[in-house]
């Protein structure tokens, strides 16, 4: 399922409370969310629980999804991240995002923009495949193991500067893949 279709499903949930759209979204994301949580080392039962709670949040927070700002996968990632902080660390997540309803001025989006958005999503999907292995290693450790960059450096036995530069390189690659309107 491509990101445009997934985005549309989230928008449909927001606009119409559509349970069929939710079930479709669940089929795509639930197994990935669970896999992500398992990679975070929480054990299968907790991973299942994190996944279910995250999917419930997807339903409840669908109105905060702004397809112009993030892809469906990115937005769902942030839901899982926040759930993990909430459930495992029992902390709140101070969030930059103001949870208001994003503007959906459909007439403002031209064919050009649509084309650009599609391009972006294709680039993003392949961004991970194209990153050098040493950058991916750092990213995986940071994202999957809930570790700060300095802990990642310690555990990989790398100088802090090396980890910093790998993060910077991966990010600049990622930012280059995003159009000006999105970054």
């Amino acid at each position: 399922m491509d990101n445009d279709h997934l985005s549309n499903l989230i928008v449909t949930i927001a606009n119409a409370g559509d349970r069929k759209a939710f079930a479709d979204l669940f089929k795509h994301f639930a197994p990935r969310l669970k896999a992500f949580a398992v990679r975070q080392g929480v054990g299968s039962t907790t991973a299942e629980e994190l996944m279910q709670e995250s999917m419930l949040s997807v339903w409840r927070k669908a109105h905060t999804f702004d397809p112009k700002r993030a892809t469906a996968s990115t937005w769902v990632f942030t839901i899982l991240r926040n759930k993990r902080i909430d459930m495992l660390r029992r902390e709140n997540r101070p969030d930059v995002d103001i949870e208001d309803v994003p503007e959906r001025a459909s007439d403002a989006s031209s064919a050009d923009e649509d084309y650009q958005t599609r391009q972006t999503r294709d680039l993003l999907r392949h961004a991970m495949d194209e990153l050098p292995a040493d950058q991916v290693e750092v990213l995986q450790k940071a994202f999957f193991e809930d570790k700060s960059h300095s802990v990642v450096a310690e555990e990989l036995n790398l100088p802090l500067g090396t980890v910093k530069s790998r993060i910077r390189l991966a990010l600049s690659r990622m930012r280059a893949a995003l159009p000006e309107s999105q970054i």
Binding site: A23, M51, R60, S73, E91, V96, H149, L171, I183
Partner: protein, 218 residues
């Protein structure tokens, strides 16, 4: 114009979710005022999204969909505290991520005078080993010279100060650790309001510092 930003790695740690709540609060509050840093956070989150979409899926329990569907109409419990209804004076100064932690308007917080230089109010956060507070430094106030055992994260919300020749104003983010000795001086006519997060006690240097020390314990 914001001139001082969190280092990219701190934004990265915020976006991956590995920062403790008090530090995340300072970073989120800065990013809510700074579109550049917000874009960096968005870019890191895109990396998270790319990892999620490329991961090998894991089988979920057989009744997972049914049990989640059955809960869709449940009311949400334990939701993040809502931002308290406060006055405009407060919402114009206090960034959105910080509002829920105050619970009331700036004028109605439990300010506690520390010497004649500043007032302080502690924020209640669950994380151990941190101290998070709002500090309101009086115009002209000169803080005693100090260094840190750990790290001090400061976000300026109003007014401004000078420190080691650098000017800090609204939205500016300062990160100081044991390698910096610093001595901020408020150089605005209005008081300087800052969110300050410490992950270890302040170590004061100089005679004035020793006098002030008991007031600054974490």
């Amino acid at each position: 114009m914001i001139n001082h930003h969190p280092p990219l790695e701190l934004l990265f740690d915020y976006a991956t979710g590995s920062l403790p709540e008090p530090v995340a609060l300072a970073v989120a509050s800065h990013a809510s005022m700074c579109s550049d840093c917000r874009k960096q956070v968005d870019a890191v989150e895109s990396l998270g999204g790319a990892l999620l979409s490329s991961i090998e899926p894991e089988e979920v329990s057989k009744d997972a969909l049914r049990s989640v569907m059955a809960r869709l109409d449940e009311p949400e419990v334990g939701a993040m505290r809502c931002a308290a209804a406060t006055n405009r004076e407060t919402t114009e100064v206090v960034p959105e991520p910080l509002l829920p932690y105050l619970g009331r308007g700036l004028a109605h917080l439990a300010w506690r005078g520390v010497g004649r230089k500043f007032d302080e109010v502690h924020l209640n956060l669950a994380a151990k080993g941190f101290k998070a507070s709002l500090m309101r430094l009086k115009p002209g106030a000169e803080m005693p010279s100090h260094t840190h055992v750990g790290t001090e994260y400061t976000l300026v919300l109003a007014g401004g100060y000078k420190d080691n020749g650098e000017q800090y104003g609204r939205g500016d983010f300062a990160l100081k650790d044991s390698s910096h000795e610093h001595r901020p001086i408020v150089d605005t006519d209005e008081p300087c309001l800052c969110l300050v997060v410490l992950d270890a006690p302040v170590k004061l240097t100089g005679a004035m510092g020793r006098l002030m020390n008991p007031f600054l314990r974490v």
